[in-house]
């Protein structure tokens, strides 16, 4: 089962629409609560990043009997130093984003911790692609 979501940039007030819709779909499919929590947190963090750093992008999800796979692609500025970005507490979020409680520098950490596989590829000036996988057939 595949789904596609377009994420608009710039609007901090209602971030997470795609993640919340996807979460509802997973619930309807009867996926376990812990799996839903993990993939939803990962996807929500990635969706936030897309909105506050890259002016939006697109998300494609695929659910198979084995796994949930989420691909987030944006045409944003790219990540200059991925190792640094992965460090807890490091953030380049704007002041406006921080005032709303984003920009704690914990997003990538949360993504990594809540999924089974995380792949990030980024090209400066071209964009970032984030792939998140959670396996369905293993207890976490």
């Amino acid at each position: 089962m595949k789904m596609h979501y377009d994420v608009e940039g710039g609007e901090f007030i209602n971030v997470g629409t795609a993640s919340s819709q996807f979460k509802k779909t997973l619930k309807m499919l009867g996926i376990g609560a812990d799996i839903i929590r993990r993939i939803s947190i990962s996807m929500y963090e990635a969706e936030i990043n897309m909105v506050i750093h890259a002016n939006g992008g697109s998300i494609d999800t695929e659910i198979t009997p084995e796994r949930i796979h989420v691909v987030l692609q944006d045409q944003g500025p790219g990540i200059e130093n991925l190792d640094l970005a992965m460090k807890a507490g490091y953030s380049t979020a704007s002041r406006q984003a921080r005032e709303m409680g984003f920009g704690a520098g914990m997003g990538l950490q949360n993504m990594k911790r809540n999924c089974d596989e995380l792949q990030i590829s980024s090209v400066l000036g071209e964009g970032t692609r984030v792939e998140i996988t959670v396996y369905l057939n293993q207890e976490s």
Binding site: F12, I13, N14, V15, G16, S19, S20, K23, A33, R37, S40, I41, Y44, E45, I48, M100, G101, F102, G103, A104, G105, M106, G107, Q109, N110, R113
Partner: protein, 110 residues
């Protein structure tokens, strides 16, 4: 302990979710940085924050907290309350600081 008991003991304003006050509360978390809350808050906890905007509903729902207490008298937008009602998350309000709210929660036995 239930959300309703907390409302009563702390004298909180129920901004929405009146039908879900029977939910059990175990533990609590205080934080205004959303990613920290998502990373550390546990299921069924009471979440104390000064944030009153739409994104708290996404976080509250993802973590599956039992209720949110918006402290310091911060306003909660009407559309946030509508969304919270949809997600069945009680939003409670207090004029007290987060510190005072937590002190009262601890005193109440959370």
């Amino acid at each position: 302990m239930t959300v309703g008991e907390i409302v009563e003991k702390l004298g909180l304003e129920v901004a929405c979710g009146r039908d879900h006050l029977d939910r059990t509360v175990s533990g609590g978390f205080v934080g205004d940085l959303l990613s920290v809350v998502m990373g550390k808050a546990t299921e069924d906890c009471v979440w104390v924050t000064i944030q009153g905007h739409m994104n708290i509903i996404a976080v509250a729902s993802l973590v599956n907290v039992s209720c949110v207490i918006v402290s310091e008298g911060y306003a909660v937008d009407e559309d946030v309350l509508v969304k919270a009602e949809e997600e069945e998350i009680p939003i409670l309000r207090s004029k007290d600081s987060s510190f005072e709210v937590v002190r009262a929660l601890v005193g109440a036995g959370v």
